[in-house]
């Protein structure tokens, strides 16, 4: 083929596997190019299929991909990963630009696996706490058994304001419970006109969370969201992720709310 083939994946070695829950593992993959939080790879196992997975961590020559065992491809990955490799193509999408958040107060609200695309932002401000005027992470999970990145939470707690909450507590759980939205009103914000809100999660959680931020006085232009959609190509062809005149894979998945609020499925 004369044109380079953007569908050709490359082989990436699995360097480590971090098990969060029975169905959610982080795969640390070799990758040496540029990558930003919120971008995604098409991850594949030849003969089984491809799936879009967001980057949940960026290391030296590695990217973390947190994969939930929910579909055909991911089930196969979980069965056959040992000592092996996966095929990747990407990274795709715009990702979050950390520069937009530097020297600001930030409230980052994530629901469930929605924490993956914003974990890189949390990692950054945990490593550079002086670059923010206050960073609060509110992370919600269904139950204590669904909590991801437990070791990271311990690390983040040291220099960030971290609220970890579950919808449904179980016996023996002594952490916070309730919806993420319940915790937003009490977060102190000094300069609401300049404060940043970042929201990623299931559609209904995002809608309620954004309503709560707006109620608190956040400016629409200071709210950032990331959208999850079915994507077969990642390069503007397959059509599955299109909303209005926007292709989530090319123009997103990260949107400023001033644009994101007009995206109607």
């Amino acid at each position: 083929m004369t044109t380079t083939n953007p569908y050709t994946p490359f082989l990436s070695e699995i360097k480590a596997v971090i098990k969060h829950t029975d169905i959610e593992y982080t795969f640390r993959m070799t990758f040496s190019g540029d990558a930003k939080p919120g971008q995604f790879f098409e991850v594949s196992l030849p003969k089984f299929g491809e799936a879009p997975i967001s980057i949940s961590g960026i290391g030296e020559n590695t990217v973390d991909l947190t994969i939930r065992r929910v579909g055909k491809v991911t089930a196969e990955i979980f069965e056959n990963y040992v000592g092996d490799s996966l095929f990747l193509r990407g990274p795709y999408g715009n990702g979050f630009s950390i520069d937009n958040y530097i020297d600001k107060e930030i409230i980052l609200i994530a629901g469930g696996t929605g924490l993956s695309p914003v974990k890189g932002i949390t990692d950054y401000f945990s490593a550079h706490p002086k670059k923010t005027k206050g960073f609060t992470l509110i992370a919600g999970f269904k139950s204590p058994n669904d909590v991801l990145f437990k070791a990271d939470f311990e690390k983040w707690k040291k220099n960030l304001n971290v609220i970890l909450t579950v919808d449904t507590p179980i016996d023996g759980y002594c952490g916070k419970s309730g919806m993420v939205t319940e915790y937003i009103p009490s977060i102190p914000v000094k300069n609401i006109d300049d404060a940043i809100g970042i929201v990623v999660g299931p559609p209904m959680m995002m809608k309620c969370t954004i309503d709560e931020l707006l109620k608190k006085g956040f400016k629409e232009a200071n709210i950032w969201i990331s959208q999850e959609r079915k994507m077969c190509c990642g390069i503007g062809k397959c059509g599955h992720c299109k909303i209005d005149d926007t292709y989530i894979c090319l123009d997103g998945p990260v949107f400023n709310y001033t644009k994101g609020k007009f995206l109607k499925d």
Binding site: M1, T8, L45, K47, E50, V70, I235, G236
Partner: protein, 334 residues
Amino acid sequence: MGYQINKTKMNTLFTDLLENYTIYAPKRFVGGGTFADTDCIRYGEISTLEEIEFSEKSDYSFKEVLLPISETLFYFTEAVMKESDPPLKEAIVFLRSCDLHSLNRLDTIYLKNGPVDPYYKRLRDHTHFILMGCENTFENCFCVSMGTNQSTNYDAYIKVTAEEVLIDSHWNLLDQALANAQPFTVVPDSVSINNISVEIPESIPQSVFDSTLWDDYTARCIACGRCTFVCPTCTCFTMQDLFYSDNGKAGERRRVWASCQVDGYTDVAGGHAFRENKGQRMRFKVMHKISDYKKRFDNQMCTGCGRCDDICPEYISFSNCINKVNALVKEENR
């Protein structure tokens, strides 16, 4: 250059062309229609003039020549991943003006929206387009409203009369082959009036998205997706991997046609779907064809061929829907 030749000479020319080209044209498949004793007119390979169906509109468009219904991208054998080979021969496609305009929509998605798609490009770069004229409008056509009733960017125009074949060639290869033929002035037939016309609103307010207009389609549409499969401008696909049942170590990655009207189109892993309701799917499709595409690429996506209306088993009319949206927008703006 324009030429007039007889049918025997034309068929000899086809025979010569077949050495290096596969010729695709609308063909009549007798008894192949949806209902008993009806025919289907769709694209297939031809080798003679007589096989081409000039008198009726094809049920399916030419797009499957450039976007095969199922197209293998890679073959997998143990650790080896191999790109599929392109066809050995170039292609010639007979199509009408609306479809030639549709080609521009396919080009936009596959060559301009994001990186160039190499599988599309390798077919596109080796395909020649022969225009078939329209003396009269067919049922459900609204090409005049969409400005697609005339075309000039063809490689050749061919019209068959009772005795003769008229050709207007923009293609050196044909000019050389027809060097001894009688020069003749040939102007492509095109319609200037359809039975159906549509008026598309300049901009569509958000309120139309939430209108009860779409509820009608929720009740009627059966989500079969035929409207999108016959559409010459629908381009969506789903990636599909498979392994061979008699040897699981070998398999392939394909892309297959997908439809925003069919269940599963928006399903994300874990089970969430974004447009469960068929009225929302109709709204999504209509907005894409008459508004969203234009916002992104500056021309309308729909080319007015009317095949969606021809094929719908529930008699849903796309052109009627456009006019309903227009009436609603006018009402809102009053």
